[in-house]
C-alpha cells in the first residue's frame, strides 16, 4: 500500500509542481506590468469603451477596454495601473445602463466566467481566484482548460501582451444597426422570462470601490456613457435609467453622457449598443473636443 500511495503522490506531484511554478511566474509577470511612462489618461471598461475611443487619436492616452470586462476586473486592473505609476492623472470609465444589470454576473460568477473571467485570473486576489474556480459548474472543464491556457500565455508572453490588458479594437467597417438584433440585445441585457432583471450588486459594489480608489489616489474619474441607438435607448427600462442618474448624482460623478449622441445608422454595429469603426472615429473626435474644452 505504501508503495502505491508513494507512487501516486509522485505521479501527481510532478504536474502540480509545474503548475505551481507556472502560477508564481504568471503572478510575477502580471504584477510587473507598467504602462508606458507618457500615458496620463486611461480608458477602462468593457467592449463599449473599447470600441468607442480610438486612443491613437488622443495623445498620452491608452484604451485598456476589454470585451465583457466587469467592474470586479476593472477595479483590480486600475489598482495594477496605479501601482508605481503616478503619471496617470485621469481615468475614463465606461459606465452604461447594462453595467447595472445582474446579467453581468454571469461573467464573474456564472457559466460565462469560463470564457471571460479566466483572462483576469492572475490579476485577482486569491479569494477571488478561489471563487472563480468554484463558478461555471457546467463549463468547469472549459474553465480549467482556459486557466491552463492563460497560465501558459502568461508565462510565455511579455507583460504588455497579456490578455487582460485590453486595447482599442473595432473591426466593424461596414455595419449598421439592425432592429431585430437591437431588440434581442435589450432583452438580453434587461429582461429574463419577461421580467426586468434585478441590479447587479457585485458590479455596483466594485463600481463604488473604483470611485473610492480614485478619490484615495487623487485621480480624476469621469464616466463615459457611450452612444446608444435611439431604439435601444428608448427600450431601456425606466428603473435602470432612473437608478443610473441617481447613482451618478449621489456619488458626484463627472459624466460624459454620449448615449444620445446623434449618429448615422452605419455608425453602429448590428446590436445598436456598440459603435462601428466609422462611429468610433466620430465619437473619438467629439470626445477630444469635449475634454479639450473642459481643460
Amino acid at each position: 500500500m505504501k508503495r502505491f500511495i508513494k507512487r501516486l503522490i509522485f505521479f501527481f506531484a510532478f504536474p502540480i509542481v509545474i503548475l505551481l511554478v507556472g502560477y508564481i511566474i504568471a503572478l510575477k509577470k502580471v504584477n510587473s506590468y507598467h504602462p508606458e511612462k507618457n500615458i496620463t489618461i486611461c480608458y477602462i471598461g468593457d467592449s463599449h469603451i473599447q470600441k468607442a475611443i480610438d486612443d491613437k487619436l488622443i495623445p498620452n492616452s491608452k484604451n485598456f477596454g476589454k470585451s465583457a470586462e466587469q467592474y470586479l476586473h476593472s477595479y483590480y486592473k486600475i489598482k495594477l495601473l496605479l501601482k508605481d505609476n503616478p503619471q496617470i492623472k485621469k481615468i475614463f470609465l465606461g459606465f452604461s445602463y447594462h453595467n447595472l444589470s445582474a446579467y453581468s454576473d454571469e461573467f464573474t460568477d456564472g457559466e460565462k466566467t469560463a470564457f471571460v473571467g479566466t483572462k483576469y485570473f492572475f490579476l485577482l486576489p486569491a479569494k477571488e481566484q478561489f471563487k472563480m474556480l468554484k463558478s461555471a459548474k457546467e463549463n468547469r472543464n472549459i474553465l480549467l482548460k482556459n486557466l491552463v491556457k492563460e497560465l501558459v500565455n502568461s508565462n510565455l508572453k511579455k507583460p504588455k501582451d497579456l490578455e487582460f490588458i485590453g486595447f482599442y479594437q473595432n473591426k466593424f467597417n461596414n455595419s449598421k444597426a439592425d432592429v431585430k438584433s437591437i431588440n434581442k440585445r435589450v432583452r438580453q441585457h434587461f429582461y429574463k422570462d419577461n421580467k426586468i432583471i434585478p441590479f447587479s450588486q457585485k458590479n455596483i459594489y466594485y463600481l463604488k470601490k473604483i470611485i473610492e480608489l480614485c478619490k484615495e489616489k487623487n485621480l480624476e474619474l469621469t464616466i463615459i456613457n457611450s452612444p446608444l441607438h435611439p431604439i435601444y435607448k428608448s427600450k431601456i427600462p425606466a428603473k435602470y435609467t432612473n437608478y443610473y442618474m441617481e447613482f451618478c448624482k449621489k456619488n458626484q460623478l463627472n459624466v460624459l453622457d454620449l448615449s444620445e449622441m446623434k449618429l448615422a445608422e452605419d455608425c453602429y454595429i448590428f446590436d445598436g449598443d456598440h459603435v462601428s469603426a466609422k462611429g468610433s472615429e466620430i465619437v473619438t473626435k467629439h470626445f477630444q473636443k469635449l475634454i479639450s474644452s473642459q481643460n
Partner: protein, 482 residues
C-alpha cells in the same frame, strides 16, 4: 454522480481511503462501507429511487431465502414467480408502460377507435434495467438450484448495489461476484495500478472520443437535411465511435474502480470493432448482457438446437428482446431485428462460432481477408446504429435515404471542421492503441507496463493532457438511460 465528474473524483479517494485504512481489517465493515457508499452514490441522482432499489434488493433477498427454505415445489414456484412478476412489473411500469399504452392507442386508432390512454409522467430510475437483471439472475439461479441463497443481507445488497456497476453494469452473476464479496480482500499493488490504468483509458475513451464524436453525431442526426450524404455517413460513423467510447469507456472505469477495492468484475467489451462477423461482434460487445440473454433466455428457449423454425424463432426473440431492453422505442426493436437478420446466415451455415479468438492473434497486421471482413462487419454495425440513434423509425429511414443520395460522393462539409479532424485523428490513435492491446482485457493492460518508466509516464501524462484539453462539458453516459 458521473464517473467523469469532479464529485466522483472526490468521492472515490475518500471511499478508497476509508476502505483500506479505516475498515481494512474487518470484512463486514468493508462490505458495510461499500453498501453505504453505493447508496450514497445512487442517491446523488435521485434519493427517492433509492427506496425502489432497496425494495428490489429486499424482495430478491427474501425470495432467495424463502425458496431455499420451502419444502414444496409449489411454494418455491410461488416465490419465484412473485419475484419475477414484481421485478419485471417495476421495469414494465417505469420503462415500458408509456410505450405500450401509446402503441396500443395508435393501433386502435388505425382500426377507427380513438383511445386516449393516461400516460405516466415519471423519469426512468437510473440503472433499473441493470439492477433488475442482477436480481433476476440471482432468483433464477436459486430456483434452478445452481446456487445457494445468500444469508447475509449486506453481502447480497453489495452484490446488487455495488457502486462501480450499479448504474450501467456490467451485469454481474452471483456465482462470480458474491464469492468475492464474501472473501477477505487484501490490497494488491499490481491490481490497484492496473485499475488506475484502466480508469485512465476509460476516461480517455469517454471524454476525448465519445464526447467529441457526440458533437458531430448529434449535429447530423438532429438536422440531416443540412448535410450531404457523405457528411451523414460520417455522422453515423461518429455515432459508432461515440457509443463505443461511451459504453466501453464506462465499463473500463467501472472495472478499474472495482479493482481498487480488490474486486474483479466481468469483462464487458473485447474490441468489438475488430470483429470479423456479427456473431463475433456480439461476443465482444456488452458481453455481460449478451451472455445474460444467452443463459437466461436463449438456452431455456432451446438455443440453436431444434429445427430451423426454432432456430429462427430463438434468434429473433433474443435480438428483439435485446433491442427492447435498450429502450421502449420501435427504433431499438428494428435495431435488434437487423442484427438478427445479420446473424441468421451465420447460424444456418454453422459459421456463428468461427471466430472465437481475437483477429490476427500473434500477428501485427491482419490478412487482406480479415481486413475486408472487419470492414464489412463494421459497415453493417454502423448501418444498424442509425436506427439505434434516430429518434423514430421515420427519422432513421430519412437519414438513410439522404446518405444514399448523389451527395454521398461529395467532400463532407460541416461547422467546426478543424475540431472534427482532430477528433478523427484521436479516434485513429485510440484504434491503434486498441489494436496493439487487443489480446488483453483492455488496451493498455499489458502493452504500457512493458515500456520504460519515462516513456510510460510520458504516455500517461499525454493521455491526461488529452482528457483535459479535449474534454467538453460533463456529459452523461448513454447507457444510463437504459
Amino acid at each position: 454522480m458521473l464517473f467523469n465528474s469532479l464529485g466522483f473524483a472526490i468521492f472515490l479517494p475518500i471511499v478508497f481511503f476509508l476502505y483500506w485504512f479505516v475498515v481494512s481489517k474487518n470484512l463486514k465493515a468493508q462490505n458495510t462501507l461499500l453498501l453505504i457508499s453505493s447508496y450514497y452514490f445512487y442517491s446523488c441522482w435521485d434519493w427517492r429511487f433509492l427506496f425502489l432499489l432497496i425494495f428490489s434488493t429486499l424482495l430478491d433477498y427474501y425470495t432467495g431465502l424463502k425458496m431455499s427454505n420451502s419444502n414444496s415445489q409449489k411454494s418455491r414456484r410461488f416465490w419465484f414467480w412473485t419475484s419475477i412478476c414484481i421485478n419485471l412489473g417495476f421495469l414494465g411500469v417505469f420503462k415500458y408502460y408509456n410505450f405500450f399504452a401509446s402503441s396500443f392507442a395508435e393501433a386502435l386508432s388505425g382500426l377507427g377507435f380513438n383511445v386516449h390512454p393516461s400516460l405516466i409522467n415519471v423519469i426512468l430510475p437510473v440503472g433499473i434495467s441493470f439492477y433488475t437483471f442482477h436480481g433476476l439472475s440471482y432468483v433464477v439461479d436459486i430456483y434452478k438450484n445452481r446456487i445457494e441463497p445468500e444469508k447475509n443481507y449486506i453481502t447480497y445488497a453489495v452484490f446488487v448495489s455495488y457502486f462501480p456497476l450499479l448504474v450501467a453494469g456490467p451485469i454481474e452473476r452471483a456465482t462470480h461476484l458474491l464469492p468475492q464479496i464474501k472473501r477477505k480482500r487484501s490490497f494488491d499493488y499490481y491490481q490497484a495500478t492496473d485499475g488506475l490504468r484502466q480508469i485512465l483509458w476509460g476516461l480517455f475513451k469517454k471524454i476525448v472520443i465519445a464526447d467529441n464524436c457526440a458533437q458531430y453525431a448529434n449535429m447530423m442526426f438532429e438536422n440531416p437535411d443540412n448535410f450531404s450524404g457523405s457528411g451523414l455517413l460520417l455522422g453515423a460513423i461518429f455515432f459508432a465511435f461515440q457509443i463505443y467510447g461511451d459504453f466501453s469507456g464506462y465499463s473500463d472505469i467501472a472495472l478499474g474502480t472495482s479493482k481498487l477495492f480488490g474486486i474483479e468484475l466481468l469483462q464487458n467489451f473485447s474490441f468489438p470493432y475488430f470483429s470479423r462477423d456479427i456473431a463475433e461482434f456480439w461476443r465482444r460487445w456488452h458481453i455481460s448482457l449478451s451472455s445474460w440473454f444467452k443463459d437466461y433466455l436463449y438456452i431455456p428457449l432451446g438455443g440453436s438446437k431444434g429445427n430451423t423454425w426454432m432456430k429462427v424463432r430463438n434468434t429473433f426473440i433474443i435480438f428483439i428482446v435485446s433491442g427492447f431492453w435498450h429502450g421502449a422505442n420501435w427504433t431499438f426493436i428494428i435495431w435488434g431485428l437487423l442484427n438478427a437478420i445479420y446473424f441468421l446466415p451465420l447460424l444456418f451455415s454453422n459459421k456463428n462460432r468461427h471466430h472465437i479468438e481475437i483477429v490476427a492473434k500473434g500477428h501485427f497486421f491482419p490478412s487482406t481477408k480479415e481486413t475486408f471482413s472487419i470492414l464489412i462487419t463494421f459497415g453493417l454495425t454502423v448501418f444498424a446504429w442509425i436506427f439505434f440513434r434516430a429518434e423514430s423509425v421515420s427519422d432513421a429511414l430519412n437519414y438513410i435515404s439522404k446518405i444514399f443520395s448523389s451527395s454521398l460522393f461529395e467532400i463532407p462539409r460541416f461547422p467546426k471542421m478543424g475540431r472534427a479532424k482532430t477528433t478523427i485523428l484521436l479516434t485513429v490513435f485510440m484504434l491503434i492503441i486498441e489494436w496493439l492491446g487487443r489480446e488483453n482485457n483492455y488496451a493498455l493492460q499489458k502493452i504500457v507496463p512493458k515500456w520504460k518508466a519515462p516513456i510510460r509516464y510520458a504516455f500517461y501524462y499525454a493521455i491526461i493532457f488529452c482528457i483535459f484539453w479535449y474534454g467538453q462539458k460533463e456529459q452523461q453516459f448513454i447507457y444510463f438511460q437504459f
